[in-house]
Symmetry: D2
Subunit: 246 residues, 4 copies
Amino acid sequence: MLGIVPAAGAASRLQPLAFSKEMLPVGSTFDERGIERPKAVSEFLAERMIAAGADRICFVISPEKTDIIPYYARHPAAERFCYVVQDQPRGLCDALFRALHVMRDDEDVLIGLPDTVWFPVSGFSLLPEDELAFLLFPVDEPWRFDAVVTTGERVTEIQVKASRPKSNWVWGAFRMPAWTFKRLHALWLEPHRGDEYVGTLVNAYLRRGGQATGLTAGERYFDVGTVEGYRAAIDALRPVAVAHER
Amino acid sequence: MLGIVPAAGAASRLQPLAFSKEMLPVGSTFDERGIERPKAVSEFLAERMIAAGADRICFVISPEKTDIIPYYARHPAAERFCYVVQDQPRGLCDALFRALHVMRDDEDVLIGLPDTVWFPVSGFSLLPEDELAFLLFPVDEPWRFDAVVTTGERVTEIQVKASRPKSNWVWGAFRMPAWTFKRLHALWLEPHRGDEYVGTLVNAYLRRGGQATGLTAGERYFDVGTVEGYRAAIDALRPVAVAHER
Amino acid sequence: MLGIVPAAGAASRLQPLAFSKEMLPVGSTFDERGIERPKAVSEFLAERMIAAGADRICFVISPEKTDIIPYYARHPAAERFCYVVQDQPRGLCDALFRALHVMRDDEDVLIGLPDTVWFPVSGFSLLPEDELAFLLFPVDEPWRFDAVVTTGERVTEIQVKASRPKSNWVWGAFRMPAWTFKRLHALWLEPHRGDEYVGTLVNAYLRRGGQATGLTAGERYFDVGTVEGYRAAIDALRPVAVAHER
Amino acid sequence: MLGIVPAAGAASRLQPLAFSKEMLPVGSTFDERGIERPKAVSEFLAERMIAAGADRICFVISPEKTDIIPYYARHPAAERFCYVVQDQPRGLCDALFRALHVMRDDEDVLIGLPDTVWFPVSGFSLLPEDELAFLLFPVDEPWRFDAVVTTGERVTEIQVKASRPKSNWVWGAFRMPAWTFKRLHALWLEPHRGDEYVGTLVNAYLRRGGQATGLTAGERYFDVGTVEGYRAAIDALRPVAVAHER
């Protein structure tokens, strides 16, 4: 199982930082000697992918964000990480498809955003296998995200940063089999497409007869890519809160 | 006036970090467009130095910590910063004296620790000019720091990480004229000295007849070099707290 | 087809360098505007892999050698490159097997050393497909390399830095199908193996009944990892020489 | 004595490189164990400054060129180096004046270009002290440089990249006392000045009554900032040539 971590984006809402936004410390962890240490925000996504069975995690980085590499070289699961590069900021879809280099034909793919923290930790495992499935989270400001409109558990539309979305459930992570990933890629390659965002590409996929599941099993979602979200995540991830959560 | 910022130390109590510990975000600031953004812990020291009149701020970095440089190249006071290198971890005194390259004969020198945050902001300006003067802060665990023993405002001894220090006031910053800095350097160069810590060197200086003032004007002191101190600083520097402080 | 480029080794024979030894300029190339520019030594290997049909090239880097990434992000074939990390210097075999993350079941694998330059450019294409095959080069000092002893084109032994090797032909590159790569990996994982060098592992593979071809089609071989080899390569790759070669 | 090394410029004529152009290997040196190793081009300038008595060498770097710092941290004269930053490419004069932070009132300043190699090694020492003095070199293509027109040893004009310069002697290095450096700075700060190049600023200085000496003691000059010059320097600095030179 392959986890794809799109980490090529600039941290326009947090700049300047002296490091990649995916390395922002949020909450803490305990090392093998029992010593508490800061935890980079992207570790939350990586551990959720590993919990769901990802044996390889592919970071898509920009050429400037190589600080991610030595950090994960010291991670307990260091051997699982590999890297591809998005040399220009061509959007999220372009970033994700660069991981095709590492994908195998017969595996499931997990995708999440490395500057978010969400619960439950088991989120990826709750999603059905072998289909395109989104893990949905209730948020207060769905207009800032991709709001996912569903009928039952069936996704009917994704509204990308719509001013008045019909749903306050947004996707925070998703999974699919490799062959669906390739179908989305083929669709994205069609003339006049090259979508920047996942939402519009999935809408086209649905219009072509594709299906997608939306599971409202997400509980809490923090977008650490803004100062407010960063602060909220720090609050939520204090030692007591984390202990309580788990 | 020259500010010296010893930033060559490893972050042994916080590792692994993806960046220099002096870049840890603590609190926030607002950029020229009024947008809130994270603030690197070492900016607190730099702004206290600038508030006291430092026209040049010299960071002493290790060869690995060059991430400090592009960060401060975007600082509003970017032109004031310069850098010298401590190639091996030879202790705090060695680091400080490397800034002699940049020091002028007739100026005052300000020294602080870039992984601490303290109040009041005006601390350096409260210290008397033209003499060796320490800004003292009351702490709960003085055995973790350099406890400064005083008679009136006169320093009689500095107790370096003593198990039962006679004082719970520790130095958080200090200033002195260039000629005192050079006297300390000459003392440090004597055979069998080469002190690692400032405290033992100052004790020798006092025994030789030197004088030092200790001013108990410090109010709050956070050591961000530990997870606990980092967390305490984040709490104390929430927007409300900061607004209240100022 | 996958190219594997083991670039995790320290440049002990060339230190200090301000950059990874794989980035050493050797010879030159002409950019899309016809302007001559220096060429990093590892580009020679990459272009030989691309000439043979590699659609993906996986660099195995150490955590410190991330300067390779922005360089290849500007390469004309930038999209083909991906990266895995060898966090500790555990030898060449360990480095190569880390690329298993990126390998597919049904492809051929090309392997070469990124601090060497060899001719002919078409070397990889000369090797037979679907078997373990070494491209051999005649050198003056075979004791510094892996000398390959053959009977006809059949490899009988690889002599690793032997003081008096039976052959002055050394391997400079090799290819094999994915399933052979996995067999070698399985062999390497056996208790008490974990070979550092390719030669001893291949010898064990041969003793188990495996077969390997050695093709004496290599013409010139430069080891840029030494000052002498670096200088020889610079001489050999002057514009006239290159023009002549092609 | 202060050496100023303007190393903030982009390597537009050599890009892409995986490192700062000042780190290009040219020629070689022998380390303390007698082992030959590549030599970064900027070391030639640094050793000429040290030979003339510079106790401090200030590199002016751009925020991206921090690879210079760990390299010089391993230099035999590592303690002499310090750094200031030019955050934007504002030209050579702006870069040089940033070193005012490090300059003392009563010293001489040596200035050279870190992507050039010139002989004799003793060049800086040949220049008269306590005055503005240029070390001139005969070149074949003076229109690519600052051609220095002299009457006797008195500089009458500097022709900046003039198509048909009156002289084929160009400056390769210069020295002056601190007070002249400050006069040039004051002149540069005048409204409507802010010269990009040294030549126009010196011309204005001469028109105001300032004096400058031009010494035709330079013998050979290599501009390593172009592929041709880089190649010529490599040829000229082969071990035999170097031995012969010294």
